[in-house]
Amino acid sequence: MKRSYIGVIILAAILMMNIVFTQYMVHQYYYENYVNVLIFGGLNIVLFPLAVLAYKKTINIRA
């Protein structure tokens, strides 16, 4: 295999974290722990630039 799939793996992991954080966020909202909602919402937002970065860094890697 000529390509490196490390980027795909990283992005899939990021998406997984997105799903987990969103789930937490919604549940914490209904539990009325609003600080936790902000924490997980913030993490979700931070993940986006990370994803862009992961894409840019790994798109041209050849293994």
Partner: protein, 174 residues
């Protein structure tokens, strides 16, 4: 306008020249990764409203006091019966159950699973959600069966001059 896409071979890493007519249904690694990044973006954006509402909740409105609202008269509610009412807003369904002479419980009765209205089954002594057979304990509002995982929010009530009033929505401990 930059002409960075007019170079030959042009830089593929862009969002306008990345559809190849003959291969438009082919998803390569690059396209797949772009989709993943886009999905992360969607997650990020959709977190914003939750954050906004949570922040609003945190700022001052923490312990909300609503005007006390009369639900019904004591004489109109026999022991073991329930009555529906709205509290605190006009669209927040709630239920008041009289368990014994002086024991009243009230909950917001939107099921904590998918918000179907929970009702009181006198014969079984439980609150039941018709949608997916969720059940709630009548003393505490805790879920006892079915899909719901969170207790129903409890409403504090008080009895005054033969009438029952809703005072406020209790916050979850924990």
């Amino acid at each position: 306008m930059s002409d960075k896409n007019n170079k030959i071979p042009f830089n593929e890493d862009n969002y306008t020249h990345n559809i190849e007519r003959n291969n438009e249904r082919k998803l390569d690694r690059r396209g797949f990764m772009k989709t993943l990044v886009g999905a992360a973006g969607v997650f990020a954006v959709s977190s914003l409203p939750w954050g906004a509402v949570a922040a609003k909740e945190l700022m001052g409105l923490g312990e909300k006091e609503y005007p006390h609202k009369k639900i019904t008269d004591v004489s109109k509610l026999p022991i073991g019966n329930a009555v529906d009412f709205k509290f605190p807003g006009d669209h927040d369904d709630a239920i008041l159950i009289r368990l014994s002479e002086n024991n009243y419980v009230a909950y917001q009765n939107a099921c904590t699973h998918l918000r179907c209205p929970v009702f009181w089954v006198k014969e079984q002594g439980e609150m039941v959600c018709p949608c997916h057979h969720g059940k709630f304990d009548v003393e505490t509002g805790a879920p006892t069966a079915g899909p719901p995982r969170r207790p129903l929010p409890e409403i504090q009530v008080k009895v005054e001059n033969g009438a029952i009033y809703a005072v406020r929505v209790k916050r979850y401990e924990a």
